[in-house]
Symmetry: C2
Subunit: 262 residues, 2 copies
């Protein structure tokens, strides 16, 4: 399993990815799922992958070595495409190419082809964008109203993102919210694991502002997790006790058919 | 979709269930998923169902009208079984019976048989228990360390349950935590919907302490949801800003192959 989120706000882009690779409960290890392609002043791109690792690594390699564009016959790489939209299309073609070439072998091994990719960044003279590519190679883009996308084990950590993120939030505040979201996923699914990689790309910077790997014992993340737990416990305690009264408590029979279908 | 949780603490049992039934995005309605079978002083049982409504309603009806016990040849109902364990076995047989009789028709309609059931309560002279029954009819029981079980859209609301619940928590505090968990599910999945049914069975009470349907505009639940949102926002704001520094900011190239596999 995996949990990665991408957040695109007015100031820029944050990508956060865990590193847990689990072939089986007794066989897990640490792999980078967050990949950067940066030519300062020209393009700053980030990719995070989830799903079968052999397939997602193969997709990444095709994006590096190139895939033929069926319209032009030219071989395109992520370093050569001129716009973010063309880049997303290229990644979609790479996913489809790998699915096609691997499908017979995947079927034989009863593996499910489930590569999903977060892709974001900026190419010179174009806007900053954030996309989610599905295993079919199709993709959606984030919106101002919903300025984040997630792949992998996304449900545990969704609540804090959808409750607090908006396009005007400061970039490091967005990073903090993404780390809280990661904490929820880390606590609920053992197949999401530390260390955590993140990157910040500032809008129009066309370079990496910061990229960092958060390890198990890093004080800031440790403190964030402890504070978040305390927030939830205190918040729960501060909500008034439910006011529902037991009424006259006179014993009453209930049958399954009393209330069916109401 | 559905979200139901059952919480078993030292003082008793709480069941909470939504009522949204969605055949399709343009066809949803309100159905009771929380069912009670109570003979005061003898037995107090609660069942919550998720999955295909026609199948779960059929299971409920079989539990009322009776299923043959293959060992004894007798017809058993939930009103006649002598222990909670035998009751859980009976529910498992009812699920298997419905799956067997419906499977050909479900296959034809390309429906997936996915009935899951929370079952809890107490029968005179026996302990209070809480079970989760899977679509295969097998079941697990809650534990003191993990005093809750969930069915349906369980991931969004799991974090608050696993962070705050323990066996010694007061019964109405457990209800409150269950309602916070329901709020997370309500916000994240439109197929989980108000009103909310809940019931409280106090240990050794062998009757209903309280059962109630929370409607859209009920002041307490409205206030709980607002306070919980405020808690999350304030908690996030009170966590210090991430300390990661941008370093010397000298532009650097990154290539996909820099870091593959680390």
């Amino acid at each position: 399993m995996t949990y990665c989120s991408g957040i695109l706000v007015r100031e820029g882009l944050v990508f956060i990815a865990d590193t847990r690779m689990s072939a089986a409960p007794d066989d897990f290890s640490t792999y980078r799922k967050l990949h950067l392609l940066v030519e300062p002043g020209e393009r700053a791109l980030a990719i995070a992958t989830s799903g079968n690792l052999s397939a997602s690594q193969t997709v990444i390699n095709f994006l590096h070595e190139g895939i033929e564009n069926p319209q032009t016959g030219e071989t395109e790489t992520l370093s050569s495409v001129p716009t973010m939209f063309r880049a997303a299309q290229l990644i979609g073609r790479a996913i489809r190419h790998v699915r096609t070439t691997e499908s017979e072998a995947f079927d034989w091994a009863r593996l499910h082809f489930d590569v999903s990719i977060l892709f974001g960044g900026q190419i010179k003279n174009g806007p900053m964008r954030l996309y989610l590519l599905y295993p079919a190679g199709n993709f959606v883009e984030s919106s101002e109203h919903s300025p984040f996308l997630q792949i992998g084990e996304h449900k545990y950590g969704k609540s804090i993102l959808s409750r607090t993120l908006h396009a005007d939030i400061e970039l490091y505040e967005a990073l903090k919210i993404g780390l809280i979201s990661m904490d929820d996923a880390l606590r609920s699914n053992v197949e999401v694991g530390l260390p955590i990689d993140f990157v910040i790309l500032r809008r129009d910077g066309l370079q990496v502002e910061i990229t960092h790997r958060i390890s198990e014992n890093e004080p800031y993340f440790h403190d964030l997790r402890a504070r978040w737990s305390a927030t939830l416990r205190t918040g729960q305690q501060n909500i008034p006790r439910p006011p529902y009264s037991t009424g006259d408590r006179s014993p009453r029979r209930y049958s399954f058919l009393d209330s069916s279908g109401d």
